[in-house]
C-alpha cells in the first residue's frame, strides 16, 4: 500500500458569529416575539478551491502570511475540519502534530500518560509499553516516571510531550509550527529526533514561518495566499517569490 493524500477542489467556509453561543432563553424570547434572532453571522472562505496531491516522498513546506489559510489547510487534510465542498482522499496512517502535549491528564503519572497518548494516536498498547522506557530516557524523566504529571515543571511536561509525540511512525505527518521547547541542550537533541521522524515518514507536510527550516527539510513548497494555493514548486523558488511579494507589499500579503 502506497500512502498518499489528495485534496480535490476543497473549499472551507467559516461562519463567524457575533453571538457565538445563543442561549435557549434568548432564542425562545425572540421566537415568541415573532422575529428571527440576529446572531450576526459573517462568512468568509478560509480555503477556496484548493487542489493538491501529495505522493510518497513529498516533504512539503507550506508558507504564507498569518491568516492565509495554512493551518486551516492542515486541519482539513487531517480530517479535523470537514471541507464545505470538495473532498480529501487519503491512504495510510496519518498523524497530525499541531500542539504538543494535548490532553495530558495531570492526575496520571508520566508513564500512564505515555500509554494514553499512544492509544489516542492509534498505537497498540503492548507496542507502546515496550517503548515507554526509551521515551522516558530521551525526555530525561526516568526518575519522575511514576509521579503525577501535574507535579512536573513546564519544561519537563514539554519534554515528555515532545518525545511521546515524536515516538510515532506514521505514513503521513502533518506539522504546524510545533517544535521548540526545552533548554538548549534538549532542543539540539529534539532537532535530531525530529529529523529522524521526518526521514522515516513517507509524506510530511509542515507549516512554518521559518524559511530556513523549510529549505532544510523540504523538497517542495506551497505558498498559500488568501485561501488559494498561489504557487507550488521547489522550496527555493516558492520562498523567493513569497518573500519578494511581502517586500513588494502585495495587498493580499498584508495582514
Amino acid at each position: 500500500m502506497n500512502p498518499y493524500i489528495r485534496a480535490d477542489n476543497i473549499s472551507l467556509r467559516f461562519r463567524l458569529y457575533r453571538n457565538r453561543h445563543p442561549n435557549i432563553k434568548e432564542t425562545v424570547i425572540h421566537w415568541l416575539r415573532g422575529k428571527s434572532q440576529d446572531n450576526g453571522v459573517t462568512e468568509f472562505w478560509a480555503l477556496k478551491d484548493v487542489s493538491l496531491n501529495f505522493p510518497p516522498g513529498d516533504r512539503v513546506g507550506i508558507v504564507g502570511r498569518n491568516g492565509a489559510g495554512k493551518s486551516t489547510l492542515l486541519r482539513v487534510l487531517s480530517g479535523i475540519y470537514r471541507p464545505t465542498s470538495g473532498r480529501v482522499e487519503q491512504e495510510g496512517f496519518l498523524i497530525p502534530l499541531f500542539t504538543v502535549g494535548f490532553g495530558f491528564n495531570g492526575e496520571l503519572t508520566g508513564r500512564e500518560n505515555i500509554l494514553q497518548a499512544g492509544a489516542i494516536l492509534g498505537i497498540d498498547r503492548k507496542e507502546m509499553t515496550r517503548r515507554v522506557d526509551s521515551i522516558l530516557e530521551f525526555a530525561e524523566l526516568e526518575k519522575f516516571a511514576d509521579s503525577p504529571v501535574k507535579y512536573y515543571s513546564t519544561g519537563m511536561a514539554m519534554r515528555l510531550a515532545f518525545t511521546t509525540a515524536t515516538e510515532v511512525s506514521p505514513d503521513i505527518l502533518l506539522l504546524d509550527e510545533v517544535f521548540n521547547g526545552g533548554d538548549a541542550g534538549f532542543q539540539e537533541k529534539a532537532l535530531v529526533r525530529m529529523r529522524a521522524l521526518i526521514e522515516r515518514t513517507k509524506i510530511v507536510i509542515m507549516v512554518s514561518h521559518s524559511m530556513e527550516l523549510i529549505e532544510q527539510f523540504c523538497n517542495r513548497a506551497i505558498w498559500i495566499r488568501d485561501g488559494h494555493a498561489a504557487m507550488d514548486g521547489p522550496p527555493k523558488e516558492v520562498i523567493a517569490a513569497y518573500l519578494a511579494s511581502i517586500s513588494a507589499g502585495h495587498p493580499a500579503d498584508n495582514p
Partner: protein
C-alpha cells in the same frame, strides 16, 4: 460521511474509549484509602438517609421500601450521571477535538460507560444488603442484564444528544440540570408507584423512566417479572432514544468543531 463510515470509525476508536475509562477509574480511586469502597458507601449512606426519612411515610413496608429505593435509586444515579455528565463531555474534550480527528461519540461514551461501571459495582456490592433486606432471589433477576443493556442503549442516545445540545446552546446545561431534578421527582423513586393514588397512576405511567426503572424494581424489590407492557414500552423507548439521539448527533458531529 456515511453512517457505515461513522460506525466503522467508532469501532476503531474503542481502544481509546477503553483507555479513557481505565484512566477515569484510576484517577477516581487513587489516593483514597477506601478507594472503591466509597462508590459503595455513597449509595449505601444515601439509602440509609432516605429510607430513614421516608420510613414513617411508608410504615409497615420498611424493608421493602428500602429495597425499592435501592432498585430504583442506583439506576437513576446512573441516568443522571450519564446525562448531566454527558452534556459537558464534548465541551470538556475541546483540546482533543481540536488536535486530532476523533469520532466524537467517544466523548459522551466515556462518561456514560463510567456511570455504568459504577452502577455495576454498586449493584454487586449492595447485593448482600438487598438479601438482608429480604430480597427473594428468583428467575426474574435474570432480567437485570437486559434492563442494564436497555438503560445503556437509551442513555447513549440521550447523552449524545445532550452533549451536542450544550455546544449550540450553552445555557442548556442549566436547563438540563433543572429538568433532571424535576424528572427525578416525577419518577416513582422516592414514592413507589403503588403508593401513588390510583387515579394519578395513569399519568405517572406516561413517564418513560417509570418503565425503565420498573425493569429493575419488579425483580429486585418485589421478586416478580415486570408486566409485558412495561417490558415492551421500555424496549421501544430505549430504541427510540438511541435512534433519535444518534441521528441528531451524527447530523451535527462535523459542525461541532466550528462552534466550540
Amino acid at each position: 460521511m456515511t453512517l457505515a463510515g461513522r460506525i466503522h470509525e467508532i469501532i476503531r476508536a474503542r481502544t481509546i474509549v477503553k483507555n479513557f475509562l481505565l484512566e477515569d477509574i484510576k484517577v477516581k480511586y487513587r489516593r483514597s484509602v477506601l478507594g472503591f469502597l466509597w462508590s459503595l458507601l455513597n449509595p449505601l449512606l444515601m439509602l440509609v438517609v432516605i429510607s430513614a426519612a421516608f420510613a414513617t411515610l411508608f410504615a409497615g413496608t420498611k424493608g421493602q421500601y428500602t429495597l425499592h429505593l435501592l432498585a430504583t435509586l442506583l439506576p437513576w444515579t446512573c441516568v443522571s450521571l450519564s446525562i448531566e455528565g454527558g452534556c459537558r463531555s464534548i465541551l470538556q474534550s475541546e483540546n482533543y477535538i481540536r488536535q486530532y480527528r476523533f469520532p466524537k461519540l467517544i466523548f459522551p461514551m466515556r462518561t456514560i460507560l463510567f456511570a455504568f461501571v459504577e452502577l455495576l459495582l454498586a449493584l454487586v456490592a449492595l447485593l448482600p444488603i438487598a438479601l438482608f433486606l429480604g430480597m427473594k432471589p428468583g428467575p426474574p433477576l435474570a432480567l437485570i442484564p437486559y434492563a442494564i443493556l436497555l438503560l445503556l442503549i437509551m442513555l447513549v442516545g440521550l447523552g449524545a444528544m445532550a452533549s451536542v445540545a450544550v455546544v449550540y446552546f450553552r445555557d442548556a446545561e442549566h436547563l438540563i440540570g433543572v429538568f433532571m431534578r424535576a424528572w427525578f421527582y416525577l419518577t416513582p423513586i422516592l414514592i413507589p408507584f403503588d403508593a401513588i393514588p390510583e387515579k394519578y397512576q395513569k399519568y405517572f405511567a406516561l413517564n418513560p423512566m417509570y418503565h425503565m426503572l420498573e425493569l429493575f424494581d419488579a425483580p429486585i424489590a418485589r421478586g416478580v417479572w415486570p408486566s409485558s407492557t412495561v417490558l415492551l414500552t421500555a424496549t421501544v423507548i430505549a430504541a427510540a432514544s438511541f435512534v433519535a439521539g444518534l441521528s441528531v448527533f451524527f447530523r451535527v458531529e462535523d459542525d461541532v468543531i466550528f462552534r466550540l
